[in-house]
Symmetry: C2
Subunit: 512 residues, 2 copies
C-alpha cells in the first residue's frame, strides 16, 4: 500500500468512525476508533436544519489528552450536518466532549486512539531554529514555493493537471486564494460562489458549503502529494464584493474557514495577497483578522501576510514568518537579522513573457533569485506567466509548467536537502556587496558561496579552525557538479572553473 | 595623407615654428607660422639652468585673439628649455607675449595663424545639453570608457600593444594614473619616477622632465587614435609617497601637469581614483586641488573625481560631470536628475576572473551595466581583469583584451551613434523598477527600452502623438537586429521575440 492510499484510508476510516459516534454515542469507547497522528478526526453530528444554522447554532468540542485540553470550533456543512475536525498530535487515547446551544449537539462525547502515522506523514510545518521550517516529526522543511492563485476555480481537468504537475515539481508549498479572482488573464466567473449569490448580490447570512468542500478536496490533494497549502484569506482582485464585506462577515468567514481547514496539517495562513490594495480595510481590520486567525486556529499553523507597496511590519508577534513581495533579494540577510524570523520571498516576480514586468523574468533570473535567497539563509517563491493560446498561466490557473527554472530550482533544493541532516538551514554570512553571497550551516559542516553574475577563477576562503573540507563546484544554470581535487582547511585558496552563475560548496569531511 | 599623419605633421610644424620664435623673435610675424585649430602651439624658450629653475623661474604667456586674452603658465622642461603650450580655439591670427621674473624669458612676443583642422580633429570634449558630451566642433561624443590605470609604467611593447588594441576597440576614453601604481598585480618599480629619487626618498624640489615627457607621448598617442585621456591626478595605490606629499608639493605638481598637459585637447582631469582612501588628505585639500585645477587650466577641460566608499558631492560647481564608482546602476536616472550633470559610471566592477569581487564580472554582466546606464541617459565604464600567465591585466597594464564584452559594448555604441544626428543623448524616462529601463532622445525621434533580465513577448507603448515609428528588436547578447513588421503610433502594442537581454528600438519614420 503506498502512502497516498494509506492517507485516503485513514481519512475515510475516521469519517466512518465519526458518523458512527453520532448515531451510537454510548458505544464510542477508547480504542474502538483510531486516527493516525496529524491526520484528521472528523466528528459528523446530525443537527437542526431549521432557521439559519450558520448563525443560530454554536458548536465546539473539547479534546483531552492526559492533562491537555484543546477546544475546537465546529461548523455547519449544510444538509443538517455539523462537523468538528481535529488533528491529534500525540499518540495514545484522546477523549472529546461537545458543547452547543442546541441540545441535539450538546454534550456528546467519545474517544479515539491516535496511532503511528504512515511514512511520509511528518505532521504540520512550523518555525525551526528561528529562521527555518521543520515538520512536527523533526524533519527539516526546505520551503520551495510556487503560486496557482486561482487554481481552485479552473476546470476539473486543469485542477487534475495541476496536481500531476506539482507531484513531480520541486515545489512543496502552493499559494492559493480562497476567494475567486478577477484580474488580467482571470476574467471568468467561478463555478461556485462562497456565499449564495443572485442578481450580483451576495447573501452573507449563510455560506455555500459545496464551495468550501471543493477547497477542502484540493487542500487534501495537495497534502497527499506533500505540498503545503498557503491559503490566502483576502485579496483585492475581486469583482464580487469579497474584498469589501461587512466586518462581521469578514470575521465569520475567517472563523468558518479556520473551523473547516485548520485540522489539515498542510495548511498555512496568509492573511492577504497585497493587503495594502484592499482599500476598504484599515490597519485595525488587519489587526483584528490577525488576532482571529491566531486565536481561532487550535493547531497554530504558520501565519503571514503579503504586501504590494507597503512592507508589512513582520516583527509583529502574530506573524510566524515574513512572506514578502519584493525583488530586492539583496535585502535578504538584513531582513532576516532584523525580523529574527524565517523570510520567504513569496513573490519576487515570475518567470514568463507577459507584458507586465512582474511576469516576464527569464528562467535564469528566476533561478538566480532562488540562489540569492538561499545563500542568505532565506527562501524564495516561484511563479510562471507564459502566454498560452488557452490563456492558462501556471501563476494563477495551474495546469502545466512551461519554463526552464523549475528544473534548476529542483537542483538547488536537492543540494540544500542532501546535507540537511547535519543541521539547520544555512545562515547568510556575507554582506553580499563586497563578497559573494555566502551561507553556512550553523555547525559549519556545510559552507557555500553563490557567485551570481561574477566568475572568479580562484578565491581564498577562511575555513573554520580544525575542520577539513572537500569542495565541489556547481554550475547553477548548466546543472553540473564538479568535485574539486584535494582537501581544504584554514585559509584555503581554491581554483574554480570561473564560469558565471557558479557556486562553491565546502562539505566537512566525514560529516556532510 | 591619413589623419594621424596630418596630426603628427602639425605638431612637428608648430614645434619648429616655436623654436624659431625664440631665436629670432623679431621675425615672428602674423601669418608666418600656423597651427591648426585645437592643436598645440608650443613656445620653446631657452633660459637659465642655474639654481632651481622649477622653483625660481616664473613664466607665462598671454595669448590674444581680437578682444580675448588667455594667460597660460609655462613650465621648465629641463636642459635650459622653458615651454608654453597653447591650444587655439578660433581660426585667424593670434598674438602672444611672455611674462617672467627672468629677463631672458620676459616680454617675448609673436603671432601665429590658427587654421582649419584636419578631418577627425573635432576639438576638446565638453558637457552638452546638461547630461551629455560633445566635441568643440559640435559632434556629439558618446562616452565609452575603459581603464588602463598604470599602462604608462609598463614595457614599451605593452604600451604599443595597448594603443593597437584601443585603436579597434569601442573605447573612446581611457582612465590612466599620472603616478605609478602599487597594488595587487602591480608590484614593480616604474621605469622612471616623477621626482628625482634615491635611497627611497623623493626630492620634491624638482621634477623629472623625462617622466612627464613620456606621459605626454602617451597622451598624444591616445589623441591620435581618438581616445580621451582621463588623467588621474592622485591615487592611493602607492608605496613611494606620492599620496602623502607636502601640500605645497601637491599644488606645485598640479600646476606643473596642468601647464604641461592642458593644451592637449583630449585631456580630462580626474582629481583622484578613490579619493576617500587617501588618508592624509582632508576635504580642504580636495577643495584646494579642485580650485587649482579649475583656475589653472586655461582650456577648461572636463573635471571630476572618483570615490571608493563615500560618494562625492557631485553637485559642487567645479565638477563638470560625475565619475562615480558604483554598481547600483538602478540609481542612474535619479542621480542624473539630482545632479543635473552627465553621470559616468567610471567604475562599476570589471569583466574578469580574479578573486576580488570587483574584478570578476561576467562579460554579459558588464554588457548589461552599459545597457542599463545608456537606457537611463548615463554612461558606463569598462575594465578587464582576466588572470594571465604574464600577469598583464588590461584593467591596469593595458596590452590586449581577452573578454567578450567589448564587442557587445561596440554594438551598443553603434546603436547610440547611428541615430546621433537626430538630437542629444537619450533621457531615461522610466522608474525602472516597475517598467523596463527606457530612454528617448529629447525630440522623441528615437525611443528605446532595455529589458534586462526580463523577456516580454509583447508590450504596449504610448508613443508621442502625431509621430509614426518603425521598430527593431535587438538581442544585446547575441548581437542580432530584427526589424519588426509594420509601423507604430499612439498606444502601440508590439509583439517581440521575448528573449532575455532584449531591447526594443522605435525610430521616427523618415527622421531617425
Amino acid at each position: 500500500m503506498n502512502r497516498r492510499d494509506m492517507i485516503k484510508l485513514s481519512t475515510v476510516a475516521v469519517a466512518a468512525a465519526s458518523a458512527a459516534t453520532l448515531t451510537d454515542a454510548a458505544h464510542a469507547q477508547a480504542g474502538s476508533r483510531s486516527v493516525v497522528r496529524w491526520d484528521v478526526l472528523e466528528l459528523n453530528l446530525p443537527g437542526p436544519t431549521a432557521g439559519n444554522p450558520f448563525l443560530d447554532v454554536t458548536l465546539s468540542a473539547t479534546f483531552r489528552y492526559l492533562h491537555r485540553t484543546i477546544t475546537v470550533a465546529g461548523f455547519y456543512d449544510g444538509d443538517g450536518s455539523y462537523k468538528i475536525r481535529f488533528m491529534p498530535d500525540e499518540l495514545g487515547t484522546w477523549t472529546w466532549t461537545t458543547a452547543s446551544n442546541t441540545p441535539a449537539l450538546n454534550n456528546q462525547s467519545g474517544s479515539f486512539t491516535c496511532t503511528v502515522p504512515e511514512p511520509g506523514n511528518r505532521g504540520p510545518v512550523s518555525v525551526r531554529d528561528s529562521y527555518n521550517f521543520g515538520y512536527a516529526d523533526g524533519t527539516p522543511f526546505v520551503e520551495c514555493g510556487t503560486t496557482c492563485y486561482a487554481w481552485a476555480f479552473q476546470s476539473e481537468a486543469t485542477q487534475k493537471q495541476t496536481i500531476e504537475t506539482l507531484r513531480t515539481s520541486p515545489f512543496n508549498k502552493l499559494r492559493m486564494c480562497l476567494f475567486p479572482k478577477w484580474y488580467q488573464h482571470n476574467r471568468s466567473e467561478p463555478p461556485m460562489y462562497p456565499f449564495p449569490r443572485s442578481a450580483d448580490k451576495n447573501d452573507y447570512s449563510t455560506f455555500n458549503p459545496a464551495y468550501f468542500q471543493h477547497l477542502e478536496k484540493l487542500i487534501l490533494e495537495l497534502r497527499d502529494i506533500g505540498v503545503q497549502a498557503d491559503l490566502i484569506l483576502f485579496h483585492p482582485y475581486d469583482k464580487w464584493g469579497y474584498q469589501s464585506m461587512p466586518a462581521e462577515v469578514d470575521d465569520r468567514y475567517l472563523r468558518y474557514v479556520i473551523a473547516r481547514f485548520s485540522a489539515y496539517r498542510n495548511v498555512w495562513w496568509s492573511l492577504a495577497n497585497e493587503y495594502d490594495l484592499l482599500r476598504d480595510k484599515s490597519s485595525a481590520d488587519w489587526d483584528r483578522f490577525a488576532r482571529i486567525v491566531a486565536e481561532s486556529d487550535p493547531f497554530d499553523h504558520l501565519r503571514s501576510i503579503h504586501y504590494c507597496f507597503h512592507q508589512y511590519e513582520y516583527t509583529r508577534g502574530w506573524c510566524t514568518h515574513a512572506g514578502v513581495q519584493d525583488s530586492r533579494l539583496e535585502m535578504a540577510a538584513s531582513w532576516r537579522a532584523d525580523w529574527h524570523k524565517p523570510v520567504v520571498f513569496d513573490e519576487c516576480k515570475y518567470e514568463g513573457n507577459i507584458a507586465s514586468r512582474w511576469g516576464n523574468l527569464s528562467a535564469d533570473a528566476m533561478t538566480r533569485r532562488f540562489w540569492l535567497a538561499s545563500a542568505m539563509g532565506t527562501y524564495c517563491g516561484h511563479g510562471e506567466t507564459y502566454l498560452s493560446p488557452e490563456d492558462i498561466l501556471w501563476w494563477s490557473h495551474g495546469g502545466v509548467l512551461h519554463g526552464q527554472s523549475p528544473a534548476k530550482i529542483a537542483f538547488l533544493r536537492l543540494l540544500l536537502e542532501e546535507t540537511i541532516a547535519v543541521g539547520p538551514g544555512p545562515i547568510g554570512f556575507t554582506n553580499f556587496s563586497d563578497e559573494p553571497a555566502g551561507a553556512r550551516r550553523p555547525n559549519d559542516a556545510v559552507i557555500f558561496y553563490y557567485y551570481d553574475e561574477h566568475q572568479p577563477a580562484e578565491g581564498t576562503y577562511k575555513l573554520p579552525e580544525g575542520k577539513t573540507y572537500t569542495a565541489e563546484y556547481i554550475d547553477t544554470i548548466q546543472l553540473t557538479r564538479t568535485p574539486l581535487p584535494g582537501e581544504y582547511s584554514g585559509q584555503a585558496t581554491v581554483k574554480i572553473p570561473g564560469t558565471p552563475w557558479g557556486s562553491l560548496w565546502f562539505r566537512q569531511k566525514g560529516i556532510a
